[in-house]
Amino acid sequence: MEYMRGYIDRYQGSSKSGEFNWLMQRVSGVALLVLLLGHFFIQHFIGAPVGGAGYAAVAARLSDLGWKLFDMTFVTFALYHGINGIFMVIEDYVYSGWRVFWKGFFWIVGVLYWVLAALTIIPFKG
């Protein structure tokens, strides 16, 4: 795959320096810190359903538009941050043309998981 080395630079496009993704990793990380604390303390402690997490209580929350917006924001930032982190690992260890393959692979995985999240969260009625 070494012959593909030229493509690595070509397909990095404007993010060749990695500067934008580096900055966005910090921005999305801080956003996730706020979202995670919200998710964790509101859902598990402050707003924990009385009598445990039965289907009715959980379904009622997941049907709420506000929580749908919260969850879509949360999963979008989490997937971006996670996949971007995997890209950083790939860039650290994969130097051959396999880099193009693995980055493409995780691009597809990320998009598919985002679609799965949207299909799970948005149409949910209970």
């Binding site: 910090r26 990380g29 801080v30 996730l32 810190l33 995670l36 964790f40 598990h44 402690f45 997490a53 289907y55 959980v58 999963v75 989490a78 997937l79 996670g82 996949i83 982190g85 995997i86 690992v89 995985v109 998981y113 799965l116 999240a117 299909l119 799970t120 949910f124």
Partner: protein
């Protein structure tokens, strides 16, 4: 051990340890996210939901949940330290070690604050 001769050797410096743990916990979290999303997408009706919750509320999964909180709390608090290192000069020669120890204290407090109610749920 002379069969293994690394081309570079690493000093187990506080920052290096923090970095390795940050990378490992990050990879564990993205794997968790993939599994978590997959499970939730299959729980769209009361039967599947209660079946899955029967498994997920067993003591072993409750303990794994505390492990998840450990991993997530580490990654979150250390990530904040990384941001402060990058943008607020938290890794100067004069303050570096203090900040690493401060990080461990804050991480421990955050982890314990979350873990106590989880373990109480496990006992109760």
């Amino acid at each position: 051990m002379n069969w293994y001769q690394p081309s570079a050797s690493y000093k187990w410096h506080e920052g290096f340890v923090a970095w390795v743990l940050h990378r490992v916990t990050g990879l564990l979290l993205i794997l968790y996210l993939f599994a978590h999303e997959w499970v939730i997408s299959t729980l769209q009706n009361p039967q599947n939901y209660s079946q899955a919750m029967g498994v997920l509320e067993s003591p072993i999964f409750k303990l794994l949940e505390v492990g998840l909180w450990l991993v997530a709390a580490y990654h979150a608090v250390n990530g904040l330290r990384v941001v402060l290192v990058n943008f607020a000069g938290a890794a100067e020669r004069s303050n570096y070690k203090t900040n690493v120890w401060l990080f461990w204290v804050i991480f421990a407090l955050v982890f314990v604050a979350g873990a106590i109610p989880m373990l109480m749920g496990l006992a109760g």
